[in-house]
Symmetry: C2
Subunit: 272 residues, 2 copies
């Protein structure tokens, strides 16, 4: 793939400052960056937006809003307020979308958590519309059901998004979370117009915990060329992010990681 | 739950010999045992059957057949032959079913692997019918898609079993693999008659690799009373196995583990 069609997510080079991230993205010809909120916390969203634009890069996603299921009304109100701040930051950054990591059940009640998630998303739609920021629900790998998100499959996420039915609500599709699903092609085709961002990370064995043992695209078991081809075939036109949470790569210098990411993406054939 | 409605799987007390397993199951009043094939390899299936019957225990499952996707015709033939041996052993043991761990894609091609799985299952049905041994496809947690099974969700397993449509082909339902699935209640209801065995293990954090960091029922995030209630409500009448693959519990003496398992099951309310 041409790197101008790709985006470097800040978490991939976690120890880089925002200026370093922008320099690395520019050096390798990435078209954009994906920003976790901690990546611009020191500079602030406004200064981060200025520098990103000056570097000729777009912001493909901001990570994250979400965490809707909470044990008390007070905690729910705090999560809602934080989500409004995240929408505001995404607006300031001109981001393509705000990724929603919807949150686990605080009490083991998945059904109740899913209800809180649907309600919490619906309560953000006016703010999202006003800021023209699309919220992108990220179905997360089922191994994260207990600690990251009760939205555990693409099918569930598509149903949720279709039920709420807003132009400001769609999907964040990360290979790492959904590659195993036999329904992946059908669901992506069905939800094509709602795919707000696409992210790549590979499944490498053995996994070391549920969060951060991901691999560079091509280093693991996922059919990356097939996935990219599929995403383009259903009509996704945005940049493709490389988002690799990895204890291994986090232990390496950011410049080395960015180079590895650039090389990994270059090895994926450009889709037809 | 009354332990006479439960079964102690050999892998839960992995270091116990078969006589020790039978003694432990009898001591706590279990109604049966689930047997991994290595548990009776030293004695042989016939002697294992004799001793199990003498202990007044039934064999609720034999684990495992499967591993259908193979890189060569020769390797496929070997897997088929091994599956016939497993059916024969299950027959000798009078087991309620033979659990099928269907196997991963040897080459990253999940679609091809799934085709080999369907073909491989179909090729065993005559032998299963002749032995009157039900084959129980176990949908496995998606985090095992790369190294244990390309059958990664209950929905996929139910579709597969319905498509082949044989009284000798059904499902093995393990909480650990399917608890996260929003479709679990609907799918269990739909496939109720095909549920050949039900197994319990809990999801405890953090996970240490994808295979053996499971918890005793009640020690983790899964709603065990709810699951047992659901399994009984849809009509499952067999014993409920406790099958806990756990580096932690494997490091403890089998007697301690069996006692912990018995106590864990006793704490689950008897379903209505």
């Amino acid at each position: 793939m041409d790197l101008s069609s790709c985006s470097l997510n800040s978490i991939t080079v976690r120890s880089a400052s925002l200026p370093e991230l922008l320099e690395l993205a520019g050096r390798h010809g990435f078209g954009g960056v994906g920003l976790w909120r901690d990546s611009y916390a020191a500079l602030g969203a406004q200064e981060a937006a200025r520098r990103t634009a000056a570097a000729g890069l777009r912001v493909t996603s901001v990570c994250r809003g979400g965490m809707f299921p909470q044990p008390t009304p007070q905690a729910r109100a705090e999560a809602h307020a934080d989500n409004l701040r995240a929408i505001d930051e995404a607006y300031t950054l001109g981001a393509d979308c705000l990724v929603m990591v919807c949150g686990p059940a605080p009490d083991g009640d998945l059904t109740g958590a899913r209800r809180q998630i649907a309600d919490g998303l619906a309560a953000l739609l006016d703010a999202a519309a006003a800021a023209e920021i699309r919220l992108a629900v990220e179905p997360m790998h089922p191994m994260m059901a207990a600690d990251r998100s009760a939205i555990t499959s693409l099918g569930e996420a598509v149903d949720l998004v279709e039920r709420i039915a807003s132009p400001w609500l769609g999907l964040a599709i990360d290979t790492y979370h959904v590659w195993w699903d036999i329904a992946l092609p059908d669901l992506l085709a069905r939800a094509a117009a709602a795919v707000h961002t696409v992210q790549l990370a590979d499944w490498v064995l053995p996994i070391q915990g549920q969060l951060s043992s991901r691999g560079m695209p091509g280093d693991g078991h996922i059919d990356m060329p097939g996935f990219v081809q599929l995403a383009r075939a259903v009509g996704y036109r945005g940049l493709i992010e490389v988002e690799v949470l990895s204890d291994h790569w986090w232990s390496r210098p950011p410049a080395e990681v960015a180079r590895a990411a650039a090389e990994a993406l270059s090895r994926i054939p450009a889709p037809n």
